[in-house]
């Protein structure tokens, strides 16, 4: 039973993409995320970087789930997406109250988070 009509046959064709291609894309995305976490001092850009890294991990899980093959990789990715959605909600809430205190979203301005 296919989910969509055009998904009746396999999309991934033989002798074309290999698992390492997807792993290389994931490595590139993680290094972009590391660059953003180190360089950027804007709190929202840090959340962008974290999201990029989380997406790269999801891509690796799906690639190995297709290769093994096992549906548990897809189940893990569903859990991972839900958890990062919760993380973004809490992170944005923290950014909003920090903006209310400091009138800025630059994390170098956050001298003390205690008050």
């Amino acid at each position: 039973m296919a989910l969509w009509p055009w998904h009746a046959e396999r999309i991934l064709r033989k002798e074309m993409n290999q698992p390492t291609d997807f792993l290389y894309i994931a490595v590139i995305l993680i290094s972009i995320g590391i660059y953003g976490l180190v360089v950027k001092r804007n709190a929202l850009r840090l959340i962008f970087s974290i999201e990029l890294i989380a997406n790269a991990v999801n891509l690796v899980l799906i690639a190995f789930s297709r290769m093994l093959p096992s549906p548990q990789g897809q189940v893990f990715v569903l859990f991972s997406i839900a958890i990062s959605a919760a993380e973004v909600a809490v992170g944005l809430g923290i950014i909003i109250i920090a903006y209310r205190f400091y009138k800025d979203i630059d994390i170098t301005e956050y001298k003390n988070l205690k008050n």
Binding site: M1, A2, W4, R10, L12, R13, M16, N17, Q18, P19, T20, D21, F22, L23, Y24, I25, V27, I28, L29, S31, I32, I34, Y35, V38, V39, K40, N42, L44, R45, I47, F48, S49, E51, L52, N58, L59, I62, S65, R66, M67, P69, P71, Q72, Q74, V75, V77, L78, F79, I81, A82, A85, V88, A89, V90, L92, G93, I95, I96, I97, D106
Partner: protein, 173 residues
């Protein structure tokens, strides 16, 4: 060898990932992040996981990106490029990212993972298989995940609550 769909998706995903960090306007950065997540959903489709791709589009592009864009509009940052991002820090960040890229790339290129191949004779996992896993073996995880999501949303609401407005509405003593 990769095919043209893969190359196109790679250009879209990595290009908009870089753009989301480097764009001058924070709002355009949020939109570029949403486009990058759409590219990841495209990878999921060519990896025969259409349900996860739909979930990714619904959650990331539909909820997370919209939440980020609303936060960008709410905080109204006057200067998105600060003076704290010095040239030295930028060079250090680029070097660190490149070091990780070269390290992980060379490990990947020399490992046995290059011998792995996708198999064409395997069955496609559809919604039925995923739902069976979710409701039998992983059902406790699903319940805990529901509690986690509820707690996170309630916590975010409690964090973003404004106490000064409530004090004005309530008669003091």
């Amino acid at each position: 060898m990769v095919d043209s769909i893969f190359i196109g998706l790679s250009v879209i995903t990595i290009g908009s990932a870089i753009l989301s960090l480097e764009s001058r306007e924070l709002l355009y950065g949020g939109i570029a992040l949403a486009v990058s997540m759409l590219g990841i959903a495209g990878y999921f489709i060519i990896l025969d996981a259409p349900f996860v791709a739909m979930f990714q589009i619904a959650v990331y592009v539909g909820a997370v990106a919209v939440l980020i864009i609303f936060t960008v509009m709410l905080v109204r940052a006057p200067n998105t490029i600060t003076k704290k991002e010095t040239r030295k820090r930028k060079i250090a960040g680029i070097l660190l990212g490149l070091a990780f890229l070269i390290l992980a790339g060379s490990i990947l290129g020399n490992s046995a993972a290059t011998q792995l191949k996708f198999n064409d004779t395997v069955p496609i996992f559809d919604v039925q298989a995923i739902g069976k896993e979710l409701l039998t073996y992983y059902s406790p995880v699903l319940l805990v995940l529901a509690l986690t999501l509820a707690a996170a949303v309630i916590g975010a609401l409690a964090l973003a609550r404004r106490e000064d407005i409530e004090e004005r509405n309530e008669p003091t003593n």
